[in-house]
Amino acid sequence: MSTPSTRALPKQHEGTREISLAQAVNEALAEELRRDPMVFVVGEDVAEAGTPFKVLSGLVEEFGPERVLDAPISEAGITGLGLGAAMTGMRPVVDIMFGDFVTLVMDQLANQAAKVHYMSGGNLRAPLTVRTTLGATRRSAAQHSQSLHAWLAHVPGLKVAVPATPYDAKGLLKTAIRDDNPVVVFEDKMMYSTKGLVPNEEYTLPLGSAEVKREGEDVTLVATSSMVYVALDAAAELERAGISAEVVDPRTLVPLDRATIVGSVQKTGRAIVVDEGHRSYGASAELAALIAEDAFWHLDAPVRRAAALDVPVPFSPVLEDETVPTAESVFELAKALVGKP
């Protein structure tokens, strides 16, 4: 059940090809850099190194060091500089190597970028994109493993994307860059080599549009980022146990496609939210509250959550593996919820 059997989501059809999530991100950036001379990328080790995850390889060769800039290890400064450039006509893409470092840029994002449009009565805009990571289980310990997307989703004025597939990652990133608001895109670093089908033709995806990744009747699994694969694996196992699970991927937390999530739960009558942020006050709490409020009369059971334990991410594999939702734990939760032995 733990084999990543469901990684290739869309069916092969004409006009698509299979690429990794890292390549999808790379393509999105390259296309936007080509399309709009105001777009630039700035971050640590983004140029020749192409980031430690090699996601940006080749960009500096095509676009030069004026548009793909290696920055000092100054996350707050880089983000502030990006914001200032964004407010004056450019479309920066700031690369924050690990999601844990968003703590270092919180003032720039939460007090500055998020509020500039509102505080100026709509006069100023901050079309800033920040790309960063989330996700544990790389044995990277407490300061390189956090999933802090909820921190940013809590701040009005910021948009937050959590793509799970190469297709979504590419389409959402292109839209984020063209959006006139600050958008933070979280990519699970464990997914960079995950493959999926992507159209040959150019495309974008709207922010705020969830996708049903698998249809089902008995229970809805609302899953974000790499937890989509956990949910899909659980759903495959549930099917063998005679339970039909629907998997809904919000794709962006802000804006949030409430209708698709609520609609699915109205159909199935049961919901489990699967998210890799901490359980307390996390994205899973918000999604569960939405379902409890808007689908209450359709629920046959309480809303359940599978989220990261409320502990710093430990190093030791035997401890770290306890902290994240797994296909097994979601399977058990769903079985109990549906009331099958």
Partner: protein, 329 residues
């Protein structure tokens, strides 16, 4: 509350020089074994090797008392060992075992050894600059006579928090020594592409005395550290040491193909300035030890390292239920 009121050894005795040799060798052999453990897939995660930079940690820590504080970095094994940590408990931590310094919760980048004043390695660049400065503030307030050493790579010069705390350290004359391990690379980017002006001008701007030291020469590091520690301990305030050095290996154990950011030629040149060899040659030259004596030291260490690694490999993992312990004190 200071323990062990020993005095700082101000002169380099033969005995101390031999101890330094042994300590540098211990770090070297420990890390060579860490590299093997990684390459044979026995160690989870990654490690950032200190090989090539041993003289900095050993030279500085030899000027410290057991209860003086240090803070360390992602490249922290050398600092940890030089401050007195046990290799077996370090191996255990790197392997995620219960007997490790942090019961497996920290791993390579987070080893803390409070018994030796080590307030912890840190995976956030510049992340420990506040902690070291605060420890110095505390030592001064509590009148313990302790000093604090803040180790960091030159990459941390990019972090604003460093300048905030250096300002306070100078204003309030805190006994903190900022030790900049200038190994010329921030991961895969040469520091000259990320650092404007002169490094020395930065502490100078805050009125903090700065010294540039040959970080491959443990005796030079020790001398400079003794001066800085002596001044800090006697109320003279902070200091800043820039130790020029080089990491012989990659940024981390997985960084094998380095050609795109630094040349083989440059690596070769630095390898010819091996800190362990430089001290060995001096010891032999001075007649403090002959080659066969040093070889015996090496052999004993090899046995010590092998035994510690084997014990750590055999040691049990923590009970998974421990995951919920230590979140709150």
């Amino acid at each position: 509350m200071a323990t062990e009121p020993t005095t700082t050894p101000q002169t380099l005795t033969s005995e101390l020089a031999l101890q330094m040799y042994e300590q540098m060798r211990r770090i070297r052999s420990f890390e060579e074994r860490v590299n093997d453990l990684y390459r044979s897939a026995k160690m989870p995660g990654l490690a950032h090797l200190y090989i090539g930079e041993e003289a900095v940690a050993v030279g500085v820590c030899s000027a410290l008392h057991r209860d003086d504080y240090i803070t360390s970095t992602h490249r922290g094994h050398g600092h940890c060992l030089a401050k007195g940590a046990s290799i077996e408990r370090m191996f255990c931590e790197l392997l995620g075992k219960e007997a490790g310094y942090c019961h497996g919760k920290g791993g390579s980048m987070h080893i803390a050894d409070h018994e030796h004043g080590n307030l912890g390695a840190n995976a956030i660049v510049g992340g420990s600059t506040g902690i070291a400065t605060g420890a110095a503030f505390s030592a001064k307030s509590r009148r313990t006579g302790q000093v604090a050493v803040c180790f960091f790579g030159e990459g941390a010069l990019g972090q604003g928090v460093l300048y905030e705390v250096m300002n306070m350290a100078s204003l309030w004359q805190l006994p903190v020594i900022y030790v900049c391990e200038q190994n010329f690379y921030n991961e895969y980017t040469h520091y000259s592409e990320t650092t404007a002006g002169e490094v020395a001008a930065r502490p100078a701007a805050f009125g903090i005395p700065e010294e540039e030291v040959d970080g491959q020469d443990v005796r030079a590091v020790f001398d400079a550290a003794c001066r800085a520690v002596e001044r800090a301990r006697s109320g003279g305030g902070p200091a800043f040491l820039t130790c020029a050095t080089y990491r012989f290996h990659g940024h981390h154990v997985g960084d094998i193909d380095r050609g795109y950011y630094r040349s083989k030629d440059e690596e070769e040149q630095w390898r010819r300035r091996d800190p362990v060899e430089i001290l060995a040659a001096w010891l032999v030259d001075r007649g403090i030890a002959d080659r066969s004596k040093l070889e015996r030291v090496d052999e004993n260490l090899a046995a010590e390292i092998a035994a510690a690694a084997d014990a750590a490999l055999e040691a049990p993992y923590p009970d998974p239920r421990e995951v919920n312990e230590h979140v709150y004190a």
